[in-house]
C-alpha cells in the first residue's frame, strides 16, 4: 500500500512515516499544500493522510480539488476537531474518514486498513461470521443454530462488526457510528456494550471470545 502523508508538523510527520514503514507500507511525506498537489498529481497513492491546517492553506481546499478531478485515492483527514466546523464538512467534501488529534498510531493504522478494504459486504442482506447469521431485513440473529435476542444497540453494534470482519474497530469509530457522539461520552459505554455482546455470543466451554480486544486500539471479530 502506498500512502501520501500531508502533515506540516515535523515530529508527527517523522513519527507517522517511520511507523508506516515499519509495517511495510510505502509512505511519502510532504509538508505543504503545494508539495501535496505535485505529489498527488501522479495518482500513484492508495491512501492520502491529509492534515487540515497547512502553512500555505487549508487541506480542505486541496480535498475539494482532488474530488473535482476524481482522484482515486482514499482520503483520511487528520486534524484537531475544532479546526473544521464539523467533521461533516470534511466528509461532505469527499473525505473517506476522519481522525482527530491527538490520535493514536494504532487507531490510524486500523483506519487505514479499513479504508483499503471498504467496499465489501455493503449490499448483502444476510451477514455471516463463523456460525452467526444476522439478517438485516428481518433483523433476526441466529447463533450456533439458535435464535438470539438482541437489543437495538447490540444489533447495531454487531452489524457494524459484521460489516467489517477481521478489521479493528476503534472505540471512537464505534462511538461515532452507534451513538453519533461528538466526543467523549464520559463513560466506558463502548466497552460495556462489547462485554455484553460478548456474553451473549459465548458458547459453553469456549475460551476464545467472539469479539477480541486489540490492546490500546479497540475490538475486532475473531
Amino acid at each position: 500500500m502506498k500512502i501520501l502523508l500531508v502533515e506540516d508538523d515535523r515530529k508527527i510527520g517523522l513519527f507517522v512515516k517511520k511507523g508506516l514503514e515499519e509495517v511495510s507500507y510505502t509512505a511519502v511525506w510532504v509538508r505543504s499544500l503545494k508539495e501535496a498537489q505535485v505529489a498527488a498529481a501522479s495518482n500513484e497513492f492508495d491512501v492520502i493522510i491529509l492534515d487540515i491546517g497547512l502553512p500555505d492553506g487549508s487541506g480542505l481546499q486541496l480535498l475539494a480539488e482532488w474530488r473535482a478531478r476524481n482522484l482515486p485515492a482514499q482520503v483520511l483527514i487528520l486534524s484537531a476537531r475544532h479546526e473544521v466546523d464539523d467533521k461533516i464538512a470534511g466528509l461532505n467534501l469527499g473525505a473517506d474518514d476522519y481522525l482527530t488529534k491527538p490520535f493514536s498510531f494504532g487507531e490510524l493504522l486500523a483506519r487505514l486498513r479499513s479504508l483499503v478494504r471498504r467496499h465489501s459486504s455493503q449490499k448483502k442482506t444476510v451477514l455471516e461470521h463463523r456460525d452467526l447469521q444476522l439478517n438485516l431485513l428481518t433483523r433476526a440473529v441466529t447463533f450456533d443454530g439458535a435464535a438470539l435476542q438482541l437489543t437495538q444497540r447490540e444489533f447495531a453494534l454487531l452489524e457494524f462488526f459484521l460489516h467489517n470482519p477481521s478489521r479493528v474497530l476503534t472505540r471512537t469509530q464505534i462511538a461515532e457510528k452507534i451513538w453519533d457522539c461528538h466526543f467523549d461520552m464520559e463513560t466506558n459505554l463502548v466497552d460495556v456494550y462489547v462485554a455484553k455482546l460478548r456474553g451473549k455470543l459465548r458458547r459453553a466451554g469456549e475460551i476464545n471470545p467472539f469479539i477480541q480486544s486489540v490492546r490500546g486500539v479497540g475490538y475486532k471479530l475473531a
Binding site: 508538523d9 515530529k11 508527527i12 513519527f15 507517522v16 511507523g19 487540515i52 491546517g53 486534524s79 484537531a80 476537531r81 475544532h82 479546526e83 473544521v84 466546523d85 464539523d86 482527530t100 488529534k101 491527538p102 490520535f103 493514536s104 498510531f105 494504532g106 437489543t151 437495538q152 444497540r153 451513538w179 453519533d180 457522539c181 461528538h182 466526543f183 467523549d184 461520552m185 464520559e186 463513560t187 466506558n188 459505554l189 460495556v192 456494550y193 455484553k196 490500546g216
Partner: protein
C-alpha cells in the same frame, strides 16, 4: 404589543371610515344650512308681498278685508306657503285655506324663524312678521328637506359599513405591499445563521426608512460575522497549536508502552503521562466547545425528533451503564412529544448528566431518569442518591471548573461536563437547573427544552412574523 400588520390595517380602516363619516356629515350639514337659508329667503320675500298687500287695506283691519286682499295671492301660492294673520290681541284674523282646521302656534314674535311639526304637514318652517296692524305668520313645508335628511341617513347607514369593509380590504392590500420589504428583510435575516453569515439583506435603491433599516441590520451582521469568525479562528488556532504537540506526546508514549523492554518503573510513569495527555486533550476539547457555544459558533444540526424514541434509545444505554457500576435505574417517559434537537449533542447532554449521577451515587443506589412532555416542554429529570450539593452552591455547579466533590477524590471530572450541558441546552432554547432532593439526600438536575408540534414543523424553526 399589537403586531404591525394588524394595527396598520385597523388604523387605515378607521381613518378611511372616519374621513368618510366626517365628509358626508359636513356635506349634509352644509346642504341643510343652504336649504334652510333658501327657505328663509323665500319666506322673507313672500312676507314682503303679503305685508305690502296688508298695508293697502284701509283701517280698521278685519277678517273680511284681509280675506279679500289676500285670497288671490294665497290661492296662487297654496302649494308653497301657509298663511295666518293674527290681530294684536292674538285673534286669528285670517287663515289660509290650505291649513284646513290646523292653526299655526303663536311664536311670540321675534325675527328668527322656527321649525315646528304640525301633524298633517310634517315639518314646517315658520316666520313671523309684525306689522302695525297685525302679526303675519308664513309657513313653508320642509318636506323636501326631510326627504334629503332621510336619504342622507340611508346613505350613511349603508355607506359606513361598506366603506369600512372596502377600507379593510384595501388596508390588507396596502399592508401586503407596504410590509413586503419587511418580509424580505425578515426572511433574509432568518437565512443568515452561523453557517452562512456572509449573506446579507438585499438593499433596494432609494433612501426610504426601510432601506436605512436594512443597512443598519447589514452593519450588525458584519460585526456579528467578524466576531463569529474570530471565535472560529481562535478555536481552530488553539486546537491546531495544542492538539498537534499533544499528538506527538501521545504517539511517543504509546510507542514506549508498546516496547516490551520498557522497565516497569518507567512504564507506570509513561502510562500516567499518557493518561494525563488524554485528559488534557479532553479538557481542551470541552473548553473549545464551550468557547464556540458562547459565541454561538457551534453548529447544531436541529431535526424534529420524537422524544419518546430518543429516550427509548438512551434508556438502554443508561440501564447498562448503571448496571455495570452496580447501580439500579428507574426510567420513565410519557407520551411522545416532538422537539427540535441535535441528536449528537443531546446525547452528549444526557450522557454527561448520567455520568454525573453515576459518579455521585453510592453502590447499590438508584438513579432516576424521568422524561415528561407537557405544557409545550420536554422536561428531563436526572436524580441521584449522593450527598447533594449545599444549597448555596446549587447555582455554581454549571460553572466552569467547578468541583462538587473535592478535586483529590478519584472520581472528580474536569468540572466542565455540566457547563457543557448548560450551553447545549441553552443552544436548544432551553434551560437547566439543579436542586436537592426533598425525600432523601441527592441531587436532581432538570432541563426544559421547548417542544414543536409534530404536524407543523417549520424548517426554519421560527414562527412567521408577518
Amino acid at each position: 404589543m399589537i403586531p404591525l400588520r394588524t394595527s396598520l390595517v385597523v388604523f387605515y380602516a378607521f381613518a378611511v371610515t372616519l374621513t368618510f363619516t366626517l365628509a358626508v356629515g359636513a356635506g349634509f350639514w352644509f346642504i341643510r344650512q343652504q336649504m334652510l337659508t333658501g327657505n328663509d329667503f323665500l319666506l322673507d320675500a313672500e312676507s314682503k308681498e303679503i305685508i305690502a298687500r296688508l298695508d293697502q287695506i284701509p283701517p280698521p283691519i278685519n277678517a273680511t278685508k284681509i280675506e279679500a286682499a289676500l285670497r288671490e295671492h294665497t290661492e296662487n301660492d297654496k302649494a308653497l306657503f301657509y298663511f295666518q294673520i293674527l290681530s294684536s290681541d292674538s285673534q286669528i284674523l285670517y287663515h289660509s285655506p290650505n291649513l284646513g282646521a290646523e292653526a299655526l302656534t303663536n311664536l311670540g314674535g321675534g325675527p328668527e324663524k322656527h321649525t315646528l311639526r304640525l301633524a298633517p304637514f310634517g315639518l314646517l318652517r315658520v316666520a313671523e312678521y309684525q306689522t302695525p296692524a297685525a302679526q303675519v305668520q308664513i309657513a313653508m313645508s320642509l318636506r323636501n328637506f326631510q326627504r334629503i335628511n332621510e336619504s342622507f341617513i340611508r346613505v350613511f347607514l349603508l355607506g359606513v359599513p361598506l366603506i369600512m369593509i372596502l377600507s379593510l380590504a384595501f388596508g390588507m392590500a396596502l399592508r401586503h405591499s407596504t410590509l413586503r420589504p419587511v418580509r424580505l428583510m425578515q426572511s433574509a435575516a432568518r437565512r443568515i445563521s452561523a453557517s452562512n453569515l456572509s449573506e446579507r439583506i438585499a438593499i433596494s435603491p432609494g433612501s426610504g426608512e426601510l432601506t436605512a433599516l436594512a443597512g443598519l441590520l447589514n452593519d450588525m451582521f458584519d460585526r456579528l460575522e467578524k466576531s463569529f469568525n474570530q471565535a472560529k479562528r481562535f478555536t481552530a488556532d488553539v486546537s491546531h497549536e495544542l492538539m498537534t504537540p499533544l499528538s506527538v506526546i501521545r504517539l511517543h508514549s504509546e510507542r514506549l508502552l508498546d516496547d516490551p523492554d520498557l522497565p516497569l518503573k518507567y512504564r507506570h510513569a509513561v502510562e500516567e503521562q499518557l493518561q494525563e495527555t488524554l485528559h488534557l486533550a479532553q479538557t481542551l476539547e470541552r473548553l473549545l466547545t464551550l468557547a464556540k457555544a458562547d459565541s454561538s459558533a457551534l453548529p447544531l444540526k436541529l431535526q424534529p425528533i420524537t422524544v419518546a424514541n430518543f429516550m427509548a434509545q438512551f434508556a438502554e444505554d443508561a440501564q447498562l451503564l448503571a448496571e455495570h457500576r452496580g447501580l439500579k435505574t428507574i426510567l420513565a417517559w410519557n407520551d411522545p412529544g416532538c422537539a427540535r434537537l441535535d441528536q449528537g449533542w443531546m446525547h452528549q447532554v444526557l450522557f454527561n448528566l448520567l455520568s454525573n449521577a453515576l459518579r455521585f451515587s453510592p453502590v447499590g443506589g438508584t438513579i432516576t431518569l424521568i422524561s415528561q412532555c407537557e405544557h409545550g416542554e420536554w422536561i428531563m429529570q436526572v436524580s441521584d442518591e449522593g450527598h447533594g450539593v449545599p444549597a448555596d452552591r446549587l447555582d455554581e455547579i454549571f460553572g466552569r471548573f467547578v468541583q462538587i466533590v473535592p478535586r483529590s477524590e478519584p472520581n472528580s471530572g474536569a468540572g466542565l461536563g455540566l457547563a457543557i450541558c448548560k450551553s447545549i441546552v441553552e443552544l436548544h432554547q432551553g434551560h437547566i437547573s439543579a436542586h436537592n432532593r426533598t425525600d432523601r439526600p441527592g441531587l436532581v438536575l432538570t432541563f426544559h427544552i421547548p417542544l414543536t408540534s409534530a404536524t407543523e414543523i417549520n424548517p426554519d424553526g421560527v414562527t412567521p412574523l408577518l
